[in-house]
Symmetry: C2
Subunit: 374 residues, 2 copies
């Protein structure tokens, strides 16, 4: 086989999840436990009875792409031609990175802690990765100065996840503006931004910034997995300037032809009904309040999440997060994700997801605190 791919490891998040027992408290895998809105599933099934299950256009139905473009209404990107519907946000990332970057010429800049797929996709495509760490000393917050300073002459793409998986950090309006201005002020060929917004509906702070609203060389990526408990639907999308979106759609077409038609029907229902996209957000806000109380009670040091459904907790000084997570699942039957897999700056931390019922989260937290606190 292709020796370049042989060295790539499968997902360590999935590997941790595979250690889960039936009795385990699972604070690992990042997937909602809520149920999706069944009315959209049923409507899509009825539409299938009427219209069958044919291919859509490669980039997705014109109606869905228009709805999505108009919903976000990013400057210069509010038309169907700016949207390509993908097989989940994972394919959106894959296609964006593959289409934009030439492995022999370019490199990608990751802001760590970073979602693990970014680096894996770059590795799959042979694209060199540069990283810049957002340190604990500034609460893992996005620092525009540090990001811009890390850009090399070869950097053609910066990937930013906001809200962040794993830290839950959201870039502020001020920081987004500062980053956009600094990128615009750079001479030469523009640096692109991949703005991973997958957790956008789950934002708990008022001053969230958006690169897609401020910086014209942005590809925004999103999907229905987290907002609507539809991880298995595999519906995501890219929003990009039209000429680039045409290229993304072309590459996407040769990889998967088109996103699944059933999922596009479900998405059409969600974007047509006002409020449906954000319907689960209230549950997460309530859950977060209880989660923060539990975290405070636990005695553990933690990052208060601005968004998403994760909380990172700190291990005692010098504790390796992979060894700790392994011990927690084996000896205390609680699944967590080691922080180090998201980058060196999160070594010594664990990522906990808080989609489980609050009692289970409290019990898991108690086991972690009991195991790691003196």
């Amino acid at each position: 086989m292709n020796p370049k791919l042989a060295a790539i490891e499968p997902s360590q998040i999935r590997a941790m999840a595979a250690l889960k027992r039936p009795t385990s408290i699972d604070l690992g895998l990042g997937e909602p436990t809520l149920f999706p809105q069944q009315r959209f599933i049923d409507a899509a099934a009825r539409e299938t009875a009427l219209r069958g299950m044919k291919y859509t256009l490669n980039a997705g139905t014109l109606e869905l792409r228009t709805l999505i473009a108009q919903h976000y209404a990013y400057p210069g990107m509010s038309d169907a031609r700016n949207v390509c519907i993908t097989s989940g946000s994972e394919e959106a990332m894959y296609v964006a990175i593959k289409t934009l970057l030439d492995p022999e010429r370019d490199e990608v800049l990751l802001i760590e802690p970073a979602y693990t797929a970014y680096a894996k996709i770059a590795q799959l495509e042979g694209i060199p990765v540069r990283t810049v760490g957002m340190p604990e000393s500034t609460g893992f917050r996005y620092d525009p100065d540090a990001i811009v300073a890390a850009i090399s002459p070869k950097t053609r793409l910066v990937i930013i996840g906001s809200p962040s998986n794993p830290t839950g950090r959201v870039i502020t309006r001020a920081a987004a503006k500062q980053l956009a201005d600094a990128l615009l002020a750079r001479p030469g060929e523009p640096v692109w931004v991949l703005d991973d917004e997958l957790y956008r509906e789950l934002t708990y702070v008022e001053d969230a910034g958006s690169l897609a609203e401020l910086y014209p060389y942005t590809i925004a990526i999103n999907g229905l997995s987290k907002s609507n408990a539809l991880t298995g639907l595999r519906i995501g999308w890219t929003i990009a300037p039209a000429p680039l979106c045409d290229e993304l759609s072309k590459v996407h077409a040769w990889i998967v032809t088109a996103a699944n038609t059933f999922g596009q029907r479900v998405a059409h229902g969600i974007f047509t009904e006002p409020g449906a996209l954000a319907e689960h957000a209230a549950w997460y806000r309530t859950q977060r309040t209880a989660v923060l109380a539990a975290l405070r009670d636990s005695g553990l040091h933690f990052i208060e999440p601005d968004g998403a459904f994760y909380a990172c907790v700190k291990l005692p000084h010098g504790t390796e997060s992979i060894a700790s997570a392994m011990r927690l699942v084996k000896e205390h039957d609680v699944v967590t994700i080691p922080g180090s897999i998201f980058g060196a700056t999160l070594e010594g931390w664990l990522r906990l997801s808080w989609v489980a019922p609050i009692d289970a989260f409290r019990e898991g937290l108690a086991r972690i605190a009991g195991a790691v606190l003196v």
Copy 2:
């Protein structure tokens, strides 16, 4: 953007289809006009109400992979570990080509006329393509001697589509055996075969051969698009030796995470109910009889299809198929696909799909005959 991808053209089949008017007779796009079996859609919707819409394992559910592996029961590949469920057979092809071949070392051999995606995927990955033409003089039939003779020291993969899109040719048992034996007899590293079986359920001859049954270095590719009128479901799969299948699943996971859960539920229903996979085959057999009668009546020279739902018709000597197809859609309002896009050996031919109602097919054929015959 990545300059290597900029030169790749979008699908010419889709481009022809885009010229279709509301009044057009469409003998172009390769998609069933039958409706899918709604009972499987409804059952999947009910299951979603009970179980939500979560991710499956990256390679697909264990149950579905077991059902598929056991249904085909290829030697040494009849276990769940031999199957990876993909986002349609397109992604299956993409992942197989990407995983097997090193662009700097290997090349792929296409047997023309060949489905257009094979070469596009190779181009997307930078993999050199070698071709061997099955000529009109032998009815475009698969010729094992010619195929084996075309293998170079760099050839690591041969792609064979049987039934073939576009010609409808099926490799015979004798030819498959001869090809497998010749490949096994070659010294050195084995050459792999990508056995594209997407039209397998639509086979009208008795002596169809199968590389997957005869040659251990085979990756079989299939899906529900054509057999069950589920092009929009995006469920395909690879069947491969377990160590390779593990690698395919890993690459697949970083591209799309997993195939959509809804589609996997539909597939589970189809593979659980005896006969459901082949339920549409009777309609195609009946349609083919009427199509062959219409072709004979037309006065056009044609290839009698052994499988699939295409018929290729010959243009007068010296007629370019692209110019002819353009003129047919513009002046006679009938959409066809020029043969030359499938390889030089099919220049001077048109591919007609016969999924339209037989009266429409007859009318389209009459228009083509009127336009091209003296």
